[in-house]
């Protein structure tokens, strides 16, 4: 096939697809007949055209606000992001013009997920809606074990999950369901989706629900040495995959960092937003995976276990751990788990943009979870990293430790010197060596004021070995390991005098600021 022939095929296909009537099809037909090489090129071109049409007319995941978040699409964004498009307004409109009825519309929309919770109380629509706005996504039961749910064996769904996890064939998905108290039907519900493979492995992903009218904005960050990925798979109401997926991974950052230094790959690796304008609940399965290299350097993929790290007032944080799937002894022995659950993490923020103002007027907490100490200006200042939370912004702060010594994290409000949160980690004999996680929690600060509010993130360590073993906490020096303006990683070092042990990661605090 010559370049000229290729160009002619392009032009004729363009005329057939985009042009006016003519004999282009006949000409193309004559050109392709008995020419397998030209037919091969034509088939590929036609495939692109067909799939383009499908992508733009049938995709369900619409990362509409990627651009509005101010982040350009990059190679590290999800590989399946469609072009950004404006979010469409809700198709369900209030025709009767009262706020209460709008609330009822929302209630109707969320009925499928909130039915059990509210079925026996018959509260007013307003009450239900306000409650639902704040907690519909967070008040549903987790499915704790295999066997409680519906089994999905749809070949396409299983193949898709197998592909996005890069692991052998999935034989079965068990999707959590709930039975509505006043109905005989069951509906999918939020919780663990158990993924069974022919290797007899049983792993889990997390099923999210998006009620009608709900907008979710998600930011995905990674903090890992190895390859980690997150897949988002849309499921229909029966639990079968719709074919829509998003994939995020830290591969490009990994390559870039590997060229410079062998440091963990930290930072944002993608984002997506989805607004449910369908009038029915939508479902998304989140699955984390990671790659490990064996002694020969061959890369194998494994599924990562996850933990719900934060779940309150419309903010859900899920972290995945790349130490090997919990319970997989083979992996655990080869790669001792650190269970930090920050190797890849998604922060999901839910809202109902079209809800009436009064429904959004509930006062969100400024600090979540509640401060660990009961007030009092007992915090020391000038020893940690100052955080400035701009007006109308909120910050999600996560902390983890990976050290021989015991490390503590404190967050102090500068204006009051009040210690808002304090987590003293675990002594080595009670900590990771006995299976305790290195995860020191996730915290949320909301600044609803018109002024900047300052906090100080501090790290302390306590020697638990050697002559200086004792109960004294010493402030740890810190260093900003990563900062892109919206997110920053602050590393604390507990053994500055021990050259071999300095890694600035004995305590790691990751802060991401959201502006809306």
């Amino acid at each position: 096939m010559t370049d000229a022939e290729q160009r002619t095929i392009d032009e004729l296909m363009s005329e057939i697809t985009d042009g006016a009537a003519g004999d282009h099809a006949r000409r193309l037909s004559g050109m392709l007949l008995d020419r397998p090489d030209l037919q091969r090129y034509y088939r590929r071109s036609a495939t692109v055209m067909a799939l383009l049409q499908l992508e733009f007319t049938q995709s369900a995941l619409r990362p509409s606000s990627v651009e509005s978040m101010g982040d350009p699409l990059t190679a590290t964004s999800p590989i399946s992001l469609r072009p950004q498009r404006a979010a469409r307004p809700l198709t369900t409109r209030c025709r009767r013009g009262t706020t209460g009825i709008v609330a009822a519309a929302i209630v109707a929309g969320i009925a499928s997920l909130a039915a059990l919770q509210f079925a026996s109380e018959d509260p007013s629509p307003e009450q239900v809606a306000i409650e639902a706005l704040a907690s519909a996504w967070s008040q549903l039961e987790e499915t704790p074990r295999v066997g409680r749910g519906v089994a999905v064996r749809d070949p396409m769904s299983l193949e898709l999950v197998s592909r996005v996890t890069r692991q052998p064939e999935v034989t079965n998905l068990v999707i959590p369901v709930r039975h509505a108290a006043k109905e005989s039907s069951t509906t999918l519900c939020r919780g663990s989706v158990w993924i069974q493979r022919d290797s007899q492995q049983i792993e889990r992903g997390h099923l999210l629900m998006l009620p009608p009218g709900c907008l979710v904005k998600a930011e995905i960050d990674a903090e890992a040495l190895g390859m980690n990925s997150l897949a988002v798979v849309e499921l229909d109401s029966r639990g079968a995959a719709t074919g829509e997926t998003l994939m995020f991974d830290n591969s490009d950052r990994k390559i870039r960092n590997a060229l410079r230094q062998s440091e963990p790959v930290a930072g944002r690796i993608g984002s997506f937003a989805k607004r449910n304008t369908s009038g029915r609940t939508e479902y998304f399965l989140l699955i984390g995976s990671h790659a490990l290299r064996n002694a020969e350097g061959n890369e194998s993929w494994y599924q990562s276990d996850y933990r719900i790290q934060f779940d309150a007032e419309g903010v859900l944080v899920i972290g995945w751990d790349d130490s090997g799937y919990a319970g997989d002894e083979r992996d655990a022995s080869e790669f001792p788990p650190d269970r930090d659950y920050d190797d890849i993490r998604v922060v999901l923020r839910f809202s109902f943009p079209d809800a009436p103002a009064y429904q959004r007027s509930f006062t969100p907490s400024r600090h979540l979870p509640s401060p660990t100490l009961g007030g009092g200006a007992d915090g020391e200042l000038g020893i940690g990293r100052t955080l400035e939370i701009p007006p109308r912004c909120e910050a999600v702060i996560s902390a983890s430790t990976d050290a021989l010594q015991q490390n503590s994290m404190r967050i102090v409000e500068v204006s009051s010197k009040r210690i808002i949160w304090k987590h003293d980690g675990y002594a080595p004999d009670k900590g990771q060596q006995s299976g305790k996680p290195n995860d020191l929690g996730v915290y949320l600060i909301r600044n609803r004021s018109d002024e900047v509010i300052r906090y100080e993130v501090q790290g302390f360590s306590r020697r638990t070995t050697g002559a200086s073993h004792g109960s004294r906490w010493d402030a740890s020096p810190w260093r900003v390991l990563f900062n892109d303006g919206r997110a920053q990683a602050i590393g604390f070092e507990d053994s500055l005098n021990d050259g071999d042990a300095i890694d600035w990661r004995d305590l790691l605090v990751y802060v991401r600021v959201f502006s809306d």
């Binding site: 499908l54 399946s80 592909r163």
Partner: protein, 166 residues
Amino acid sequence: MQLLTGEQFRLHRYICVLLGDLDAASNVLQETNVALWKKSHEFQLGTNFSAWSRKVAYWEVRAYLRDRKRDRHVFAAELVEQLMQQEEQEATDETEVRLALRHCLQAVSRSNRELLRLRYEEALPIADLSKQLERTQSAVKVALMRVRRALLDCIQLQMGCHAPRG
């Protein structure tokens, strides 16, 4: 029905390849779905649904061509037969191509993404696109052709250079 739902985008692509015309492919897909529904009792669970549905689709394509035998807007039956045979011999992994396409769409400029959106999602004819974008119809067609070609090159690069990513 579950099998059929999962097979739709594969059938759509297959018919589009055989006909070379997206609009015609959409119509024939509808006919194929009706035929599949009517013939569903002939399909035996446990056998290859993809192969069976493609066979039904092929016969619907043949019927479409037969009805338009003298139409210069359709491919010759001989070519369709050859394309079908090549499809059988050189399987296309639609899921893989689709994932590669999504990856490649990220590299498309904002203006071209908008062009694709208007053309495929809004289904605007070239004349309307020309007015909206204040460009000549010829320029719009060339721009669409180029972006599709760039996507094809990118997809082939993705499929050739990377192990399955999704």
